[in-house]
Each structure stands twice: as C-alpha cells, then as structure tokens.
C-alpha cells in the first residue's frame, strides 16, 4: 500500500508547470519577500492556508454547529449565536457604494479594494499579476466609478502591503521589508510607502533605529500621526511533547501561552525619529482618545489596559476571557473593545470561537460565540461590529448593531480571496463574497469586493 502511495505521489508531482519564480529576485537583488502572484490582504501563502484549512475540516454536516451538544462552555455575559442573524436588506440596512468582481483569481491575480480614504475614495489596486509584474494604484470614486491612477510606486515591487492610513493628505502602506537575521525567527525591517496626494509622489521610509519586526500587520497609526510598531519580545512556549491532539485529530493549542511585544513608534516623515515607547504589550489599538492594550496575545490575553491619551491616566481590568481562550484579534473604537478568540475544539470538531466585546471600563457588552467565527472589527465609531464566519451552515460576513441589539448577515458565502480590506471612514465597511465558477480547491474561482455604508 505504501509503495503504491510512494509511486502515486511521485507521479502526481512529476510534471510541474514552469516555475516563474525569479531566483535572483528571491535571493539576491532586493532580498525582499517576493510574491509572484495573488498578493491579497492576507497574502499568497495565506491564501494557500485557506485551501489547507478548508481541506482540514470535515464539511459533512450542513446544519449549524450544536455547541451545547459538543460540550462547548458558555462565555460570561450576554451571548449571541450566528443563527440569530437576519439577512441584511440592501437599501434598508445598508447601501452598496461600489463593487468589483474578479472572475478568476485561481489563474492569476486581480484587482482589490485596499481601503477607503477619509474623503470617500477607494484605494484600488491592480496586480501584481502575470502580465503586470508590479501593482498599480488608483483612487476610485464610488459615485462615478472613475479611477484616478496614481504615479507608479517603483519601490513597492511585489511586496505585500497593508494600508494603515488613508487620509485626505496621504496614503500610508506598510510592507515587510527586507529579511534580517534574528535568532531562530525570520524578522523583517519594516518599510512604509507614503503617497502624498497633493504632489502625486511616493516616498519610501525605513528606520535604521527600529528593531526588526516579525511582520508589518501589527503596525498602527496613532492619533498623533506616528506609526506604532510592535517588536517581538517574548514568544509563548510550545508545551513539552507538543500540543495535545484535539477531537478532530489536529493539534489543539487552546490555552496557549501568549506572545509579548515592545511598543515602538516612528515618524512617517522623518526616518531618524524612532522612539521606544517603554511599554510591553500583547495586542494594542487606538481609539480617538485612548491607547488600549493587553498583556499578551496569540494565547492568553492577561489584563486589558486603557491609557487616556490626554491625561496619561491608566486603568486596567480583567476582560474575563474563557479559561482556554487564545486572543487572536483585537479592535477598539469609541468606548468598545472587540477581542476575537479561539477557545478549543470539542466533540465532532465543533470549535469554540468567540468575538467578545467589552467597554473600555471593563463592562461585558456581548459575545458572539460560534464554530468558525472570527475577525471581529469595530466600525462606525464603535457602534457596529463586523465579523466573518467560515462554517458551512453559517459562513458569511456579519454586522452587529449594538444600539438595536441585532445581528445582520451581509452575505451567505465566504470568499477564498479577501479582495476588500483596509481602513474605511464613517459608517462604511468592506467585505468580500465568492464569485466565478466552481473550482476544486477554493470553492469558487473568483471574488467580489464590496464597499457598503450602514444605514442608521
């Protein structure tokens, strides 16, 4: 049996298509991380992870997961299940401002909504793709559909990019930058690409005084206009002998030890202006008038701390996460904090996933608990919560209205490609839905990017 398996695997991988990867580009010329195709918000390799994660789950039961039957514990405070959602009605609950469909992202990269500027223009990205090796950017006016193409950003190359500020004056995108050696981990020299809208010029910033980071995704622009960067300080240890196996046959790393970071900040105009903030954090975020952080993340969260940016006064509280919960996502707006968590896998592969919302005073607001829900983001100044679900029965994008206490389902499919993500002003939000034809690995060959506005 195993000999046949050996032979089959050799045959199955014996005739690869031409590898278009330029080794020189990978290893020598730029030393930067090269992505040949599909640089979505989560990145090419992350897209592949989507395929792997899809393959790893047994989608045999289309009914919503029965958390109680699986033995999943209930969180403290009010709890909402995804099955309580009602379909969102366009024109009544939200209005669609713009959309763009890529029919076949399985063959090549496409076009993306990378965020929305404070004055309501979509940062539209085209590529990089096989016939266009470097991305082009435009500002798309949702009202007219017209695109104003920006001058070419030569320094960006094929780096993955995350928009961290899209204001009326400038667009700030961060990328991993060049890899540097840092013990056993891959570390990167953070790079920012700043587009000045008045002069139509790009500037690339690298800070020699800034320690290497493990990626650009934690960087955030504070209310003072500085870029705040988490630099890995301690990484949670894997238990001796590895993670225990969960009921689904996978290693279950619930109740993990968290990672911590030292918080640094840099100027987005002066490369010598680098500051160690002298603060060790886990996850962190800014509201308009506060810095909010946890003790650790990607595991146990510890306490939540709130610093008033005007007075410097600090308070802290126990957010009362479940005993086995790992903090994976963090968002803050207005006087609310949203914490996305994974809290273990139970019988039948049912996951205990949660998006828990507390106030900055430490009061429990509500928790969305279900199998396969995550990515909680506060929008609309903290009046709404968006999240994404992946379970077969409940997959889609959701919107929770805190004032009305109701959960809306924006779409009943989850795209393999996240083609719409980034900052959005006011009551606007971005989401993706599947599109195109059926394909084996990703379900659908394409995706539609949506920009909508909540109707209050």
């Amino acid at each position: 049996m195993v000999n046949e398996l050996r032979e089959l695997m050799r045959e199955a991988s014996a005739s690869p298509p031409q590898d278009r990867t330029d080794l020189t580009a990978v290893l020598g010329r730029g030393r930067r991380r090269v992505r040949v195709r599909r640089v979505a918000i989560a990145g090419g390799t992350s897209l592949a992870a989507g395929a792997i994660a899809l393959g790893s789950l047994a989608w045999t039961n289309p009914a919503p997961a029965d958390l109680a039957a699986a033995g999943v514990p209930r969180p403290a405070g009010p709890t909402v299940r995804l099955t309580e959602a009602t379909p969102a009605v366009e024109g009544q609950d939200y209005r669609e401002l713009a959309s763009h469909t890529n029919d076949d992202l399985d063959s090549d990269n496409g076009q993306y909504f990378d965020g929305v500027t404070d004055d309501g223009l979509v940062l539209f990205r085209d590529g990089p793709r096989s016939t266009q090796l470097y991305p082009r950017f435009a500002l798309l006016d949702p009202a007219t559909g017209e695109k104003d193409w920006l001058t070419e950003a030569r320094d960006i190359g094929q780096s993955q990019l995350w928009a961290v500020e899209l204001s009326e004056q400038r667009l700030v995108l961060v990328s991993p930058g060049e890899p540097v050696e840092s013990g056993d981990d891959l570390a990167m020299a953070l790079t920012a690409h700043v587009y000045d809208r008045a002069s139509d010029t790009w500037d690339t910033l690298r800070w020699t005084g800034l320690p290497a980071t493990d990626g650009p995704w934690g960087a955030r622009v504070g209310p003072d206009g500085r870029l705040y960067v988490p630099v890995l300080a301690t990484r949670g240890e894997v238990p001796e002998g590895g993670w225990p196996m969960g009921p689904d046959g996978e290693a279950d790393d619930a109740d993990a030890e968290g990672d911590t970071y030292d918080l640094w900040s840099v100027s987005l105009t002066e490369q010598r202006d680098v500051r160690d903030e002298g603060l060790r954090v886990g996850a962190f975020a800014f509201t308009q008038d506060a810095l909010v952080w946890t003790d650790s993340q990607n595991g146990d969260a510890g306490r939540v701390h709130v610093r008033d940016l005007a007075t410097g006064e600090e308070t802290s509280f126990d957010p009362a996460l479940g005993e086995r919960c790992n903090l994976l996502g963090f968002s803050a707006a207005g006087d609310r904090i949203a914490m996305s968590q994974y809290c273990g896998t139970y019988e039948g592969g049912v996951r205990d996933d949660r998006v828990q919302v507390v106030t900055t005073d430490g009061d429990q607001v509500m928790t969305v608990q279900d199998s396969g829900v995550e990515g909680g983001q506060l929008v609309g100044g903290g009046d709404y919560l968006t999240m994404t679900a992946y379970d077969r029965a409940t997959g889609g994008t959701y919107l929770y209205d805190f004032e009305e206490g109701r959960l809306l389902r924006l779409g009943d499919g989850t795209s393999a490609w996240n083609v719409a993500a980034g900052p959005a002003p006011g009551d606007q939000l971005l989401w993706s839905t599947p599109a195109g034809s059926k394909v084996e690995l990703f379900g659908r060959s394409g995706a539609t990017a949506h920009l909508g506005e909540i109707i209050r």
Binding site: D19, T45, P179, G249
Partner: protein, 166 residues
C-alpha cells in the same frame, strides 16, 4: 544561489503535495528559500541546509494552516458551492490522490508526504514536525486509512489505528 537552484524543484514537489497547487507551492518554496537565505552562513557551516530548507517549506505550509495560532487567518472557500462528489467521480487516480490529500488535516498530510515522498524516517519526521514519534505514527496511520480508497491494493476492511507497517 546554487543551492536554491538545485533544491527548488524537489522542494516545490513536496510543497505541491502538501498544498495541491503548483503556484502556491512556489510561494511556499520562496518563503522557505528566503528563510534559508537569512540563516545561510550558519546552515552551510553545519551542513544542514537541505534539512533546514525542507523544514522551512513544511513550516511555511503548516504555519498558515495552523488556524488557531494566526491572527492573519485567511478566508476560506464558499462551502455551499463546493462539491467533493463532483471531484471524486470525475478525476483520474492522481487527481483523486491530490483531492484526498487535500481533505486530510494538515499535519496528517505532512506526515504522509514526509514519510513516503521525502522518505524520512519516523524519527526524522517527528523532529521536523516538532512532535513525538508516536504522534507521527498515529497521524500517518489515520492518513493512510483515509487514503485507502485511492490505493488499489489497499485492504478493503477497515484498518485499525497503528496497523501500518513501519
């Protein structure tokens, strides 16, 4: 550069068997080669560059599949439209193998690929995956049980865990 050129093709085949897509396999190999590049002086001195590259590629696949440890979890497919039956009935044996491999949990898939494509021993596989030899055996056993439908000479009766010959 010479090492990258000589090892790339084989690493890409390994990554392909783990992720089921040649282009994405290239992404993983790029990731692995970049990691090797970063550590090259130390690796070359110790003669462990290929082992490290293999580990880096496998880790790149698994890192992103380790769904609970990543705050950058990608979005997944529209499960309401996917049809495993369409695939299973229509494809040839190799495609069926790839389809069945894709259905395995990532670490089970890694065990099978490392054991039977890379021809690593149980101990080597355990060391690469950072788990015990017992875990490698049980994960491989589960994987082979799932793969039995694609293997023509596999036993028709259900295979108990641990029934694999090592």
């Amino acid at each position: 550069m010479e090492f990258a050129a000589s090892s790339r093709a084989h690493l890409r085949r390994t990554a392909y068997l783990m992720c089921g897509d040649w282009e994405r396999a290239s992404d993983f190999v790029q990731e692995g080669l970049i990691r090797v590049y970063v550590r090259w002086p130390r690796l070359e001195r110790n003669g462990g560059e290929l082992a490290y590259a293999r580990k880096a590629v496998v880790s790149a696949c698994l890192d992103h599949a380790r769904r609970r440890s990543s705050t950058e979890r990608p979005q997944e497919a529209d499960h309401t439209t996917a049809s495993g039956e369409d695939v299973a009935t229509a494809v040839a044996t190799r495609q069926a193998l790839m389809s069945t491999l894709a259905d395995l949990p990532p670490r089970q898939r890694a065990c099978v690929v490392l054991r039977y494509f890379e021809d690593l021993s149980v101990a080597e596989t355990a060391a690469l995956l950072g788990c015990t030899e017992g875990t490698v055996k049980s994960q491989t056993s589960r994987a082979l049980f799932s793969l039995r439908s694609v293997l023509s000479d596999s036993p028709t009766s259900e295979q108990a865990e641990g029934a694999v010959s090592w």
